[in-house]
Amino acid sequence: MMGLASIILFGVAQLTQRTLETQKFLRKKSESIQSATLGCERLASEMREAVTTPSTGDTSSWDKVIPSQTEVMGIPAPTFELTPSSPGWSRAYQSNQLITVTYSVAGTNLQRQVTGSIAAPVATDVNTFEVTAVSGRDKTFQIELAISEQKRVQTFVTQVFCPGAP
């Protein structure tokens, strides 16, 4: 009886130990995936606000409008004259209404830097990072972020359309 109980207890102990090891592995994997997906989503969301064409390569930067700015468009007021007075849509962004956002890899971190402030990491364990223009798609860019996890590299790919890019 004691032998049987010992076998069962040993089995439970083995199972618990291996499960904890598996959980630790999955936790690490989950952190990597979460870091990569959050990094991709943050980058894509911010790139969507671009008002200049984002640069491609392993460092990508673009200008966006400072959210606290109240007026950035120089749309002329409607007129009721028969001849249009100003048939244009000028983007009257002043330099103090724009900021430059840069994403680049420093060490194993993908970092984000805004003009005049310090860089902050947005993803860890980064192997490679690259932004490319999608051929045949106007104003569309592909973001590739490869993460090192447990001796292997996992690549995350997303795409973003920048309607405000010229």
């Binding site: 009886m1 049987l4 109980a5 069962i8 207890l9 089995g11 439970v12 199972l15 618990t16 499960t19 598996t22 959980q23 999955l26 994997k29 989950s30 995936i33 979460q34 997906t37 991709c40 989503e41 894509a44 468009m73 749309i75 002329p76 409607p78 007129t79 028969l82 001849t83 249009p84 007075s85 100003s86 048939p87 244009g88 849509w89 999608v134 045949g136 798609r137 106007d138 104003k139 569309t140 690549t155 995350f156 790919v157 997303t158 795409q159 973003v160 359309f161 309607p163």
Partner: protein
């Protein structure tokens, strides 16, 4: 006697210990099985949670791909003329994530909340309306001014934007269809620029068409269209009409729809008139003129 009783209790107690040990073993076994199942469930939940995050990334990638496709296509054709069938795929996948299967469904039948009963309002037709589908209002009598709300003296009635938006649903499935992730979004006209008018506006992307003559007291319908540089029409624009002051005759103008893309001209006196159709599109004010109407 006392000794005999103690011995009997001792034998009984040994029997109970064996039974307790067997029961305890079974309890341990059940606990072992329950723990195993909990561990297994924990691993499956972890796996499905990771799958959901990756599926979200795949779905968003496809949605952005469609946005880029709309922008590219709308450079040469109107939003209402896009070939959505080419984008409606079943079990498509990206090479980087072949385990995630993508299905794309689209529809222009965008349902709106019905009007509250006993308010005198009408149910909005499917699609988007300007300025708001929630406050949808339209002229109930076809002979009324279709732009100006006579009852509330407000301007204008809701304008249909039904050709400027499409509801897109992207479904991503994985693990042999065991899990599913859905992303729904409204894709809209990416407002590409109309053709550039000439400096004197004699050539304009706003094209007015209708008969060349209307006798005094008679009526005729005229319509305006805004066109892309390749002459494809841009849908859902709103037109403001007037008669050029230099005209010799007079006429009244009645919009036949809330966007006034078509109007009915009723001549009050003879003489040459020119209709002016003014459109504000993409922040740009553009004007088209009809030919001389006698």
């Amino acid at each position: 006697m006392w000794f005999y009783n103690v011995s009997k209790r001792s034998r009984t107690a040994k029997g109970m210990l064996l039974a307790e040990a067997i029961i305890a073993s079974f309890l341990l076994l059940f606990a072992f099985i329950a723990a195993t199942q909990l561990f297994d469930a924990s691993l499956r939940w972890e796996s499905s949670s990771t799958g959901e995050r990756l599926a979200a990334l795949v779905a968003e990638r496809r949605m952005e791909d469609l946005r880029g496709w709309v922008a590219e296509q709308c450079q040469s054709t109107g939003f209402d003329n896009l070939n959505w069938t080419s984008q409606e795929v079943v079990d498509d996948s990206y090479p980087e994530s072949p385990a995630f299967l993508i299905t794309v469904n689209t529809t222009d039948q965008i349902e709106n909340t019905p009007a509250r009963p006993a308010t005198g309002r009408v149910d909005p037709v499917p699609g988007l309306h300007s300025p708001s589908s929630t406050f949808y209002a339209r002229a109930l009598d076809a002979n009324d001014d279709q732009q100006r709300n006579q009852e509330w003296q407000s301007f204008p009635y809701s304008r249909d934007m039904t050709a400027s938006a499409r509801l897109v649903q992207i479904t991503v499935t994985w693990s042999n269809g065991r899990y599913e992730y859905r992303l729904v979004s409204l894709l809209t006209d990416s407002i590409e620029p109309a053709a550039t008018p000439s400096t004197d506006f004699t050539t304009s992307p706003v094209v007015v068409s209708g008969p060349g003559s209307v006798s005094a007291g008679g009526s005729a319908d005229y319509s305006a269209q805004v066109r892309l540089p390749n002459n494809q029409p841009i849908p859902d624009v709103t037109v403001l009409w007037s008669i050029r002051p230099t005209s010799g005759g007079s006429a009244s103008i009645r919009p036949l729809d809330s966007s006034a893309r078509t109007v009915r001209i009723t001549r009050q006196s003879s003489g040459a008139i020119v209709l002016v159709a003014k459109v504000r599109y993409r922040g740009k004010e553009i004007v088209g003129y009809s030919n001389v109407i006698n």
